[in-house]
């Protein structure tokens, strides 16, 4: 199966084996970062929901946590 295509600044070509391994490692990193950001956003949403359940208004929550 051909490896993915890249544009290396001069021409388009298939990735080398080393470039392919490096790219896969980068994709894993990006996925982990995206998951961490999603977890953080979910935690923030949960915190806002708890504050709202306590009776705080949106303006009061925004004053505490930011918009």
């Amino acid at each position: 199966m051909p490896r993915p295509i890249i544009h290396d600044g001069e021409t388009q070509r298939e990735m080398t084996a080393d470039e392919y391994a490096e790219w896969q490692a980068l994709c894993d990193d990006v996925e982990q970062q995206a998951q961490a950001a999603a977890d953080k956003a979910a935690a923030a949403a949960s915190g806002r929901a708890k504050l709202a359940a306590l009776g705080l208004t949106d303006a009061e929550i925004a004053a505490l946590l930011g918009a």
Partner: protein, 291 residues
């Protein structure tokens, strides 16, 4: 030259010789080239679709000799001084397509380039390189896009098609290799099309976040000022980009600053998609001329 240059005592000047004086010999080069003694008085032409370099060697030419240089290819021609040679006119040593000039030697080790078809930049942006890419996983700027000629650069990226939902990242690059060390930091402020603010960033990761893009509703553009990548200082990018998220539910804009945490020198950078062979578009790079 086409004539039996240099003429010697007793040589006969023919009509053909005389006519040839007005028709300079052309030496067309399609790859990097080092000027040779036989180029004296001739026209050396660069014709390459991508960047090309002409090197001016030391101790090959002599005082008062000239070489005419023209670039007819799409790739930027850089005139570079060989070891030991002093080449003046540093602000005019990159030639875009259809630009040219005359290289005048003041000695065997010193030359001046006089542009004849290029307006010398007066502190503005100078186009350096740009091309399109098609269904690529990533694109990299050509090696040596960032040089000592300019301190700061502008990068403009247009993504015109994406085959599937993808995340985008950036890495700095040197000598043809992306830097994958954990030295990338970014602070990114954003808002969606409903005016809801959000932020993101990364701290000492192996690349910079450059957003994401839905595979079916493509609206992605990226622009950045890249500061001092080729000096022994912290490389800094001040950027803006816009995109449609992978869920195709929001359009976002982000702006901020990216740092590379060490003083590594870079000559290029790469824009990378998380999906194989997925992005099509084009990029342009400009240098900020000081004077």
């Amino acid at each position: 030259m086409a004539t039996p240059f240099p003429f010697v005592a007793g040589a006969v000047l023919t009509a053909a010789n005389l006519n040839a004086i007005t028709e300079l010999v052309t030496n067309t080069q399609t790859n990097d080239y080092t000027l040779a003694a036989t180029d004296a008085g001739d026209r050396v032409i660069a014709n390459k679709a991508t960047a090309i370099v002409f090197t001016v060697p030391n101790s090959v030419f002599s005082a008062s000799q000239i070489v005419r240089i023209h670039n007819i290819g799409a790739g930027t021609l850089t005139i570079s001084a060989g070891a030991g040679l002093t080449l003046n006119g540093a602000d005019v040593l990159t030639l875009a397509q259809y630009q040219g000039g005359e290289l005048f030697f003041t000695s065997a080790s010193s030359a001046i380039f006089f542009p004849t078809a290029k307006t010398v930049s007066a502190g503005g942006l100078v186009f350096l390189t740009g091309t399109s890419f098609t269904t690529a996983t990533s694109f990299s700027l050509p090696t040596d896009t960032f040089t000592s000629t300019y301190r700061n650069y502008k990068l403009i990226v247009n993504i015109t098609a994406v085959t599937a939902d993808a995340d985008f990242t950036l890495r700095m690059r040197a000598s043809g290799t992306d830097n994958s060390t954990s030295n990338y930091i970014s602070m990114q402020m954003g808002a969606n099309d409903a005016g809801t603010y959000s932020g993101t960033g990364n701290v000492l990761t192996s690349s910079w976040i450059a957003g994401e893009q839905d595979g079916g509703n493509v609206r992605y553009g990226f622009v950045a000022d890249i500061m001092q990548p080729q000096t022994a200082n912290i490389t800094t990018l001040c950027f803006q980009y816009g995109f449609v998220n992978k869920a195709n539910t929001d359009t976002f804009a982000r702006a901020g600053t990216m740092f590379f945490a060490t003083t590594t020198q870079f000559d290029s950078l790469s824009f990378i998609s998380s999906v194989a062979s997925s992005i099509s578009g084009n990029f342009r790079v400009y240098g900020y001329a000081d004077s």
